[in-house]
């Protein structure tokens, strides 16, 4: 048999370094780590809230300081990246056909960004 197909091995651990788009993908995936940790932060806050005012003050106190600032900053970047990467693909996952034509993707994405801004503003104003 003269055939001898050559299989190029793909590294299971470093494959994503080969292309910028794979790196962008991994960055998107890693946002989940921040979301997970941050959600547990919220759960801790909820626990403190359940315990009483002192526990809640202690929680707020613990949050303060460089570590808290640093984590929240990183989480902000990650979650914003998550939001953008999420909204940018909505026309692909949920196309909308009106009559014959599909609603242009940028309209759907734009609507999501708009809604995101409104929701964020409401929470922000309410929170501050």
């Amino acid at each position: 048999m003269s055939r001898k197909p050559y299989v190029r091995e793909v590294s299971k651990t470093t494959w994503f370094l080969s292309q910028p788009r794979y790196k962008r993908y991994m960055a998107r995936e890693v946002t989940c780590v921040f979301i997970l940790i941050y959600t547990f932060l919220l759960i801790c806050a909820l626990g403190a809230l359940a315990k009483g005012p002192d526990a809640f003050q202690a929680f707020l106190h613990a949050l303060r300081g460089p570590l808290g600032v640093l984590f929240n900053l990183a989480a902000l970047v990650a979650t914003v990246y998550h939001s953008m990467s999420w909204f940018d693909v909505t026309p692909q996952a949920m196309p909308i056909q009106r009559g014959e034509e599909f609603v242009p993707g940028n309209v759907i994405v734009g609507a999501h960004y708009g809604a995101w801004a409104v929701v964020s503003l409401i929470i922000l104003i309410w929170g501050i």
């Binding site: 979301i35 997970l36 909820l46 626990g47 359940a50 005012p53 303060r64 809604a115 964020s120 501050i128």
Partner: protein, 113 residues
């Protein structure tokens, strides 16, 4: 080939992804303010407790936290695989276990408020 059971988790992942995309960045911004020492009104004990005491508030908190957890857990499962760990069953137990634990804690805490 059997049909996959992933839709259970993917459904939560997708719903959670949407919720976190809309609300998490601004929540992080608020906790960032708190960490920096600003004291937004929301972070007074009374205001928050009041919000969480209402059934609608409870529902919102539950929804946001639980969906965020399952979103992150499912994506983490995939991410761990992407980093080359080939033990999907174990990873699934661990990440969904964490999400389950968080879900339980949230319910317990909410019931105490």
């Amino acid at each position: 080939m059997a049909k996959s059971n992933k839709p259970i988790f993917w459904g939560l992942f997708a719903a959670g992804g949407t919720v976190t995309a809309f609300v998490t960045p601004v929540l992080v911004l608020l906790t960032l303010f708190a960490a920096m020492g600003f004291s937004p009104d929301l972070f007074t004990y009374e205001a928050l407790r009041g919000f969480a005491a209402h059934w609608l508030g409870k529902l919102i908190i539950l929804g946001v936290i639980v969906l965020s957890l399952w979103h992150a857990a499912h994506r983490l499962r995939v991410t761990v695989h992407d980093f080359g760990v080939r033990a999907d069953a174990v990873v699934a137990y661990v990440v969904y276990g964490i999400a389950g634990l968080g879900t339980l804690m949230t319910i317990v805490y909410l019931l105490r408020i």
